[in-house]
Amino acid sequence: MNNKHIYILAALLTAFSIGLFVYKAKVLGFPVRPQQQTTIWNIEAALRFHPGPAAVKATLRIPSLTPGYSIFDENFISRGFGVTTSSAPAGREAQWSVRQASGPQTMYYRAIVYRDDTRLAQDTTPPFPSPPELDEASQVALEALIAEVRRQSADVASFTVQLLRRINQGDQDPYVRVFLRRSDMPTDSAQLATLFLAGAQIPARVAHGIFLRSAPGPVQPESILEVHDGVQWLYFNPRTLQQGLPPNFLIWWRGDEPIAEVEGGFDLEVTLGVQESLLPAMAVAERRAEASGSHAVDFSLFALPIATQAVYRVLLMVPIGALMIVLLRNFVGVKTFGTFMPVLIALAFRETRLVWGIVLFAVIVSLGLLIRFYLEKLRLLLVPRLTCVLTVVVLLMVAISILSEKLGLQPGLSIALFPMVILAMTIERMSIVWEERGASEAIQEGVGSVLVAAIAYVVMGIAWLEHLVFVFPELLLLVVVATLLAGRYTGYRLLELRRFKGVLPEYTPQ
């Protein structure tokens, strides 16, 4: 195992860890900062109508293919109606039906959408449209119009723009005029364009949608022309001729039909509304990962029950604390009782807070030591003595809790979270060091342990770090990398610089 091996391993682990981190953060949108929020929009369609005497069936077209946006959640609200959703050629439809209804009826469709750039129009390339069936005169006008527009354009996009421009000229255009005069032709310019484009063998359709504004309130649906150039869908605003999908435009439904229809009812009125709000970024990221078929969420800690998650929030910080121990022991040279004892103490400090934690620790250890010295006089066997110290520690904890309750000192109660076995072992070890190597060594190591615990506590308490390792546990691989590298460190420890000063030639003995 030479250094190269370690470096390659470290590089691989780092690359994997950072790679996964970047993928989750950038592509899936996992929040890098705690309490990060994502903007979402609540959209709503309200249908109002008066029912007739017989069965009523109301149909609402609802969003399905929404480039740039994903649906987080949706629901249907009505009184007494059965609701079904189905996919229609123009998208999805919701149908409310009831045998009999009386009085004005209102039903709602509500959904939450969020921005999702990974979502493109995913439908397949459409077939060539069949040419429109027209009478002789219109047919001639159509062909002439197409021929002329084609001459002035280079590709599908410029063809469409040119065509729209002529349609917008209306009566002034000699060819378009032919169509506008006819009563069976659509008056909407986007719909008219699809007809012409069909004549030119270019697939096109009209999409209707709303602008997601930040100000709440009702919105009017607007239409946009979708044209397929053989590779992808292009979007055109039929009035402004602007190409491209406006960033805040949510496509609601497609086709020539209105957004809603009612059978067996009358006076149908549809209002659309939108309201912007914020949602925890993690909730949205989860849904996005789910939608994109990524397993990142299935294998994330968010898949666990909440109670287990809470445990892992703490556990995942233990390696970070242990890393602090590595640094303090191998790079600084601090002595502690037991290798990882300070991390466990630091975990207890999370509940007690630092100052109280240190006070309580000092109180328990000193009282425990006093009792341990007394036990020494009784000459007990080792294991019974350890058990005795442990029991005394538990009793001390109880006593401190009760006392602090009586005195109204809230933090005293959290002493129950101290790891009592660790405390008992610490007391035992400390008393042995005390006897064998003197009080100063014992106190020195005791202070060292508390110091390391305090540092570990402070680092483990960084909320941002806690959030990072919880949402991106793969970052702990960086801790592995750090330990791999630290394990190969052969330089001096900080305290050794003082310890070995006597070797230096310029040093003069006392």
């Binding site: 003197g438 420890r493 003995p509």
Partner: protein, 321 residues
Amino acid sequence: MFGRARRLAAEGVLGLNKRNRDYILRFNPRSRYPLVDDKLLSKQLAIQAGIAVPPLYGVIRTQHDIRLLPDMVRDHPQFVLKPAHGSAGDGIVVIAGRSGARYRTISGVLLDFEQLSHHISNAINGQFSLGGVQDVVIVEYMVQFLPVFESLSYQGVPDVRIIVFRGYPVMAMVRLPTRASGGKANLHQGAVGAGIDLATGVTLDGVLGTEVITHHPDTMNPIAGVQVPQWDTILEIAARCYELSGLGYIGVDIVLDRQYGPLVLELNARPGLAIQVANRQGLLRRLQICEERADFNAHYKERVAFSKREFKHPVKGCCQS
């Protein structure tokens, strides 16, 4: 800070991290650790190899065996109790005589049999062993140390510590008990370490804690200039401990007994680094000289000759780290 580190590196000072990774992990196979961690086992191995150790009076293996102690030491007013897996001097009781039914330790404390058996039972239960595993207690001869270091010790037995690298003695010091160390020769308990010129066996200045000192803190005598007797024999014993243990980087503790001459007290697979301060020399330079020029298959006499030649104090030469 970095300046200090650079100067220490230039002096070839070995730090704990480098000792652990480049020497202990590399040259001390795990499987051989039990030989040195178990003092009873290393004692038996040494006896087999013909290396002198303090004679064994008996072994106390169970709680039940404790009552055999008076029998074991009936003919030996002086003896030593030592947990086989103890380290750093923990748990060792040196009994220097009796006072009626009671035992007198070397520091003058009187212990009755009950106190002694409590101590032994603690030791058997693993109070002094790593990880608290069950242990046995060795009862052995108490070394009668030669009066050479009398002027330099406060009670107790001074011992010679030699670092042996793949069979080559590379650095030596004598550890002198002080009042603070309670008669024990362990540096972190407050004993003084005095460097020894490997070529001649004459002492150099000493170290107490991290401070270099020239006079013993209790006896006030100068530390440097004392000739360690039977120096060649000591070096040879140390060199042979390499074959005995199979460990490439060890500290060999040797005491000088009036009756038996140099005796191996214990082998240490993780010898401390304070020896560098006692010698005011870095270990790395000497280790590198060995790695560059020594023949690791040589006979122990040749190895001792090499060490005496190469490591005459002060060893010069540059150090690559």
